[in-house]
Amino acid sequence: MKIQAGIEIANDTDEEVEVILPVGSIIELDVSEEMQNIALSASYKFTIPPYSTLKTQVEGVCLNKDLSEPSMASGRFTPFRYNSATIDQDEVWSTVSNPER
């Protein structure tokens, strides 16, 4: 099942900024909330005009099968992406549950 995430990004500069969200980009939630982190199921490209804020939605799959589905929970982008050109829920669960040793 896909999980929606709303994001707001502010451009405070006097120049237009292009923003790319690679496929698999990961958003985390506070671990104490025990809710699923997500990996974006597609890549996104936005252009944010000078001195403006972009408000948009992206879509992802869950990374942690054992945790509950988030609902209007505050999240944070991480510097990581799930490394695959196509994001398949079962494959993601299997990989995260069985890390390479």
């Binding site: 990004i9 405070d12 690679p22 671990v31 982190n37 991480t78 390479e100």
Partner: protein
């Protein structure tokens, strides 16, 4: 071990700065190679001082690149003594630059295994290099709450928190998920330890992001790189929204 490896790298650089430059001046003065050599030595020295280059890289450059022509050169005994390296080359009468480089490479793997923190590779913001899978086993001294161990290992993420970016909670959740599916004990910080004997040594395996198939999402024009370079700010992220959240929120 860690300090000896670092000292070997120091001696390599020290040798080039003092003796190598003299040899180069004598043999290659005003040739292209002379200027390239000087520049390389200065760059390596500066990077080493700023902790931007690891001993392993210096060893590889010594054995493979421009510096390799000096690899058979002997290191004066005084230099070896000064850096107290005689104990690691006990049976060698003559110690050459290549011996130091090979020693670094031989033990660097072991040194890596005992490193107790995750670090971002150099240049990760602009040109993300591929993260390699790596696991580290850390003793937890009878405490089955692993959270502080994860926090210490992934302390690098504290530095990017000011940009509203995370990573630590992701890694902790991934470890907990893996433990559940591999039937290993998972204990959270608010639960008391079941282990009555607090002196029992326990350990936990910490996996690097690549073990979970995570790689950097950085590079030209990416969200993370733009944020870290101060071009944009992430002001809000809400997970588990309804489909028309952005639209609804605008009209509110």
């Amino acid at each position: 071990m860690k300090s000896k490896i670092k000292d070997c790298a120091k001696v390599i650089l020290y040798w080039h700065q003092n003796i190598g430059i003299e040899i180069a001046t004598e043999n290659y003065f005003k040739q292209d190679i002379y200027y390239k050599y000087r520049e390389l030595i200065n760059d390596l020295h500066e990077a080493f001082l700023c902790n931007e280059i690891k001993p392993e890289k210096i060893a590889r450059i010594q054995l493979n690149d421009l510096l390799n022509r000096f690899s058979h050169e002997k290191i004066p005994k005084g230099m070896i003594k000064e850096f107290r390296l005689e104990t690691i080359f006990k049976n060698k009468e003559i110690i050459r630059l290549e011996d130091l480089a090979k020693y670094i490479l031989e033990y660097e793997t072991e040194y890596d295994q005992t490193e107790s923190v995750f670090d971002f590779p150099q240049g990760w913001i602009d040109e993300p290099s591929e993260l390699k899978p790596k696991s580290v086993t850390i003793q937890t001294s009878g405490n089955s709450n692993f959270d502080p161990v994860y926090h210490a290992y992934y302390k690098i993420f504290k530095g990017i928190k000011q940009y509203n970016l995370g990573g630590l909670d992701l890694m902790v959740a991934a470890h907990n998920t893996a433990k559940i599916y591999q039937n290993e004990p998972v204990q959270h910080s608010d639960e008391p330890s079941c282990n009555e004997n607090t002196n029992v040594e326990e350990s936990t395996t910490i996996n690097n992001p690549a073990n979970f198939n995570f790689q950097f999402a950085t590079g030209t024009n990416t969200l993370i790189t733009n944020v870290l370079k101060g071009k944009i700010r992430i002001t809000r992220v809400v997970v588990g929204t309804c489909r028309d959240w952005a639209l609804k929120d605008k009209t509110e």
